[in-house]
């Protein structure tokens, strides 16, 4: 019986050798295919152990950096002024992935961008762990801080966006209330989970980047757009306008009235903008029609797919299906929805002689050794001006007059701001819901360095009485002053 036993022994040997051969095939020949398969999540975990690149301000201060950590991930992501910059940097979390710039510039930050390939090779040769590249922002810390501090001090829910009109560089992107990305980057799972679930369940949605991810009815700031379209259509600042306190929406029994139901204090287009009368703009928009409005809006960037490089929610005038719709849209109600960034683009475009520049948040991408991989140059958004520079100058003068008429704190004699306020009704019962307060403008009016837009949701601390002037203007001016006058 020993002969067959020996043969079974050989068979056992063959079986185990087969297993080994197959294991060798998988772990040597096919290993790379399996390792790099997109469904293999292990790759992702590897990434968390890499030295991620920095996110820095133009003068080199690190907003997001890595510190060495003595655990299995080797490095921990830390954020300076986490809540203030959270809308810009986003977050980077082992359990919850990444958001904001951390996500949109992930390839550079984690070092997998093809432009970092040569450096990765040299890292491999020198035996150094691969490092990620750095991202330099366009943010101006002073403006960011001024806007964020004032918004949080007042307890406002809303957003502030500031940009350089000539280049489209974003100088500030604030969204309040905010969150601290440091807690999500924590290597303590409990802390991550607690923070995430707290913010997720918070009705004020602190993780929402209101500046680019949320759209609002723009209220009277939309009148800038209507005025631009009217001027382009050949109308002048001095054209007479209807001063009636209200107008019936064509084809309906509803009336549209001026703020407070009063008659318009001015009788020209210029004065209508100064006093923000509703009736004249409704009528002008109705006269211009859907196509002309849309054409102008398009060159202001409305409807454009924007990435800064985070994706910006789409702004739109709505379908404008009837004359009544045109009337209401002219004053920034009905279906008109703009992101605060898009609202800021209105001012920036006027400030830049009618040419909209593509908003951008990233100044340049840097290799780990700080040599430049790519410098972003300003580019025109659509290539077509939203309005002629002559008309832009006329509109600027109208906005100067509007600023003159706008109340609120923060005015300084030495800085000339051109602005427009807005008070946007919203909700199911607009008359009894505190309106959104808007303020958008640029300064210095004659040589614009900064355009800014502010939205304070639901009246801030003023409730139903809130207007753009009383609530939002102060914050916009603070941002401008931080840029131009040192606080």
């Amino acid at each position: 019986m020993n002969t067959p036993l020996r043969k079974v022994g050989v068979a056992m040997l063959v079986m185990v050798v087969l297993l080994m051969a197959n294991a060798t095939y998988i772990q040597v020949v096919k290993a790379d295919d399996y390792r790099t398969d997109s469904r293999n999540v292990r790759v992702l975990y590897d990434e968390y152990s890499r030295q991620r690149g920095l996110i820095v301000t133009p003068d080199g201060a690190a907003l997001a950096k890595v510190d060495p950590s003595n655990d299995k991930y080797k490095f921990i992501r830390t954020y300076a002024d986490g809540p203030m910059y959270a809308p810009v940097t986003g977050y980077y979390s082992i359990n919850y992935g990444s958001g904001g710039l951390e996500r949109s510039e992930d390839d550079v930050l984690n070092g997998s961008d093809p432009r970092l390939f040569v450096r990765r090779l040299s890292d491999m040769v020198t035996g150094r762990d691969p490092r990620g590249g750095n991202v330099r922002l366009t943010i101006n810390p002073a403006v960011q801080k001024a806007a964020y501090d004032l918004m949080t001090r007042k307890g406002y829910t809303g957003a502030v966006v500031a940009m350089e009109p000539k280049t489209g560089r974003i100088l500030a992107m604030v969204s309040t209330p905010s969150f601290d990305p440091n807690k999500l980057a924590s290597h303590t799972t409990k802390e991550q989970v607690a923070a995430w679930s707290q913010w997720r369940d918070d009705p004020k949605k602190p993780m929402l980047n209101r500046a680019i991810s949320e759209t609002y009815p723009p209220g009277s700031t939309a009148k800038l757009l209507v005025t631009a379209a009217a001027l382009e259509d050949g109308k002048t600042a001095d054209m007479p306008v209807n001063t009636a306190p209200n107008v019936k929406l064509p084809g309906t029994q509803t009336t549209l009235e001026n703020y407070g139901g009063a008659a318009c204090k001015g009788s020209t287009l210029k004065e209508a903008l100064r006093y923000s009368c509703n009736v004249p703009f409704a009528e002008i928009a109705g006269e211009l029609g859907k196509d002309k409005l849309n054409a102008t809006a398009k060159n202001f960037g409305v409807g454009e797919d924007l990435t800064v490089p985070m994706r910006v929610a789409g702004s739109s005038l709505g379908p404008l299906e009837s004359k009544a719709a045109l009337y209401q849209s002219a004053i920034g109600q009905r279906d008109v929805r703009l992101t605060p960034l898009q609202d800021c683009l209105l001012s920036a475009t006027i400030a830049n002689n009618g040419m909209a520049m593509k908003p951008q948040l990233v100044q340049s991408l840097l290799a780990p050794n700080l040599s430049t991989i790519e410098d972003y140059t300003p580019i025109e958004l659509t290539g077509d001006a939203a309005m002629s520079s002559a008309n832009a100058a006329i509109l600027r003068d109208m906005m100067l007059a509007s600023e003159e008429n706008t109340k609120g704190a923060g005015k300084r004699g030495d800085i000339q701001i051109a602005s427009k306020t807005g008070t946007a009704e919203h909700g199911n019962d607009p008359k009894n819901t505190p309106p959104h307060a808007w303020y958008t403008g640029f300064a210095p009016a004659m040589d614009p360095k900064i355009a800014v837009s502010v939205i304070v949701e639901s009246g801030g601390n003023r409730g139903l009485e809130a207007t753009g002037g009383t609530v939002a203007a102060e914050i916009g001016r603070a941002a401008v002053n931080a840029m131009l006058g040192g606080g």
Binding site: M1, N2, T3, P4, L5, R6, V8, G9, A11, M12, L13, M15, V16, L18, L19, M20, N22, A23, T24, I26, Q27, V28, K30, A31, D32, D33, Y34, R35, D37, R39, N40, V41, R42, Y45, N70, D71, K72, N95, T189, K190, Q192, V193
Partner: protein
């Protein structure tokens, strides 16, 4: 050599006085210490990579492992002193690595549970408990079955109990017997067992004893059909019924892995007993036919085959290749050297603690570790096979051969399944995988192997060898040799 000797085995004692064969228990102790060392290092590595600190679990895990091993070694010293010294250390190392791996995956799953705000009960505690219970059973088998030949008396009983145990889950309602689609359990209020694991051994005992008694009939009493000698149906009857019952039951229980295991072992034992290759050919033919029928009848078989052909293609299907693909991802990520113990992500593979524990080893210890593990199984089975070759009785040979082959067959089915060499069928890796039934049954299997190897290496109890009687005239004074001490084990 003036006088022919009655027993050739005692030829070596012809000129020298019989001496005691070395028991090699010291070798076993050294090897066990070595296994303990490896397991301890592995445990420390896991803790260092996972927790960044050495926790108290090292102490209690290590100590209980050590205690269990010591008990096993002492039991072998006492009750199977001549047993092969390599078998127990191999088992100890595999069992230890299994515990470390289960502990390692526990740590990862516990962390994930915290993330999701759930409670998590580690499995390793249970597994240590099962190891201890297994060792008790191991000792009981060694003590009760002091001679494996006594088992022949219970051949048919074992067969009957085995079949009943195997069939029981199929008969029981699903609520009492089904886990993850396989009806192979008996779920009791306090614990669950997989009777199939034990039936495996009982049926091997039955086959061995049956084949030993009918061996000659198989070989001579058959008819010749087309040049092939087939045994008479009435001789073959019981074995066919048993085999058919096994397969039928397993088809109903949807446990393809165990079915394959039974089939392979039956075939090999039949071949060893009869020395006819025709059995293997016939068996493989039947198997092929059965496989084709099963493929056409059962959708879950078709799914398994699709997953086998390309697990990545059926990745997203329900019941598709997700699990195998995850295992392959792990193996691919591990590569040749592995990610290091505690530094990989084996917990991402479903069932990482049971069927897929070998991919966890392949991920963290790499091809090198996986190969070493396969070598351990091979050495273990080969030592068993060596004992089967050396033992003197045919029952011992047949049973030893069957048990050894069963070990390799199990590892072939499970590792072949998770590495996509054969369709994945889901059985446990002996000694490594979490699971009480599997551990208990395999420790019993090893106890039987040790018993057979003890019998193989124990000096044969024979009538006192006739001292060659020199002619009286030439006789001279000789020292009277005392009979050799028989050690602690009493000769049977």
């Amino acid at each position: 050599m003036s006088t022919p000797l009655a027993d050739p085995a005692s030829a070596q004692f012809a000129t020298n006085p019989p001496r005691e064969l070395p028991k090699r228990r010291g070798t076993e102790l050294v090897l066990l210490a070595f296994a303990t060392f490896i397991v301890t290092v592995a445990l420390v590595l896991v803790e260092a990579n996972q927790e960044q600190e050495l926790t108290s679990s090292i102490i209690w895990l290590g100590l209980s492992y050590l205690a269990v091993l010591t008990a096993a070694h002492l039991a072998v010293r006492r009750w199977a002193p001549y047993a092969d010294p390599v078998i127990l250390p191999c088992v100890a190392l595999l069992n230890g690595l299994g515990l470390v791996m289960i502990h390692r995956i526990d740590l990862a799953l516990a962390e994930r549970a915290i993330q999701q705000g759930r409670e998590y009960t580690p499995d390793v505690t249970k597994q240590v408990l099962f190891t201890a219970i297994s060792l008790v059973l191991f000792v009981v088998v060694l003590v009760v079955i002091s001679d494996h030949r006594t088992l022949t008396r219970y051949g048919y009983t074992c067969g009957l109990v085995g079949i009943v145990a195997l069939a029981l889950p199929a008969v029981l309602p699903s609520s009492l017997s089904e886990v993850n689609g396989a009806k192979v359990w008996i779920k009791l209020p306090f614990f669950s067992i997989q009777p199939g694991e034990f039936a495996k051994i009982l049926l091997m005992i039955f086959f061995a004893s049956f084949l030993v008694t009918k061996r000659d009939l198989f070989m001579v009493a058959g008819k010749r059909i087309v040049g092939v000698e087939l045994p008479r149906a009435r001789d073959l009857g019981p074995i066919l019924i048993a085999a058919a019952a096994c397969l039928g039951v397993l088809v109903f229980e949807k446990d393809l892995g165990t079915s394959l295991l039974f089939f392979g072992v039956t075939l090999v034992m039949l071949y060893v007993a009869t020395e006819r290759v025709i059995w293997v050919v016939l068996g493989v033919g039947f198997f092929a036919a059965g496989a084709i029928i099963a493929y056409n009848l059962f959708t879950h078989v078709q799914q398994r085959v699709r997953n086998w052909i390309d697990p990545l293609a059926t990745y997203d299907d329900p019941g598709g290749g997700y699990q195998v693909a995850q295992g392959l991802f792990g193996l691919g990520t591990g590569g040749v050297g592995g990610t290091g113990l505690g530094a990989g992500r084996p917990d991402m593979v479903p069932e990482a603690k049971t069927d897929f524990i070998t991919t966890a080893i392949g991920e963290e210890l790499g091809l090198i570790g996986l190969t070493a593990m396969l070598m351990l199984y091979l050495i273990l089975a080969m030592r068993g096979m060596r004992s089967a070759l050396a033992v003197r009785d045919t029952f011992g040979k047949l049973l030893g051969g069957g048990l050894s082959f069963a070990l390799v067959m199990q590892i072939f089915v499970v590792v072949g399944g998770v590495t996509n060499l054969i369709p994945n069928t889901g059985i446990t890796a002996p000694f490594l995988s979490r699971g009480g039934s599997s551990l208990l049954a395999n420790y019993i299997l090893v106890a039987l192997l040790l018993r057979i190897s003890d019998a193989a290496r124990k000096p044969a109890v024979r009538p006192k060898p006739q001292q060659p009687q020199a002619p009286l005239a030439e006789a001279h004074t000789v020292m009277v040799q005392r009979p050799p001490a028989t050690g602690e084990g009493s000769p049977s």
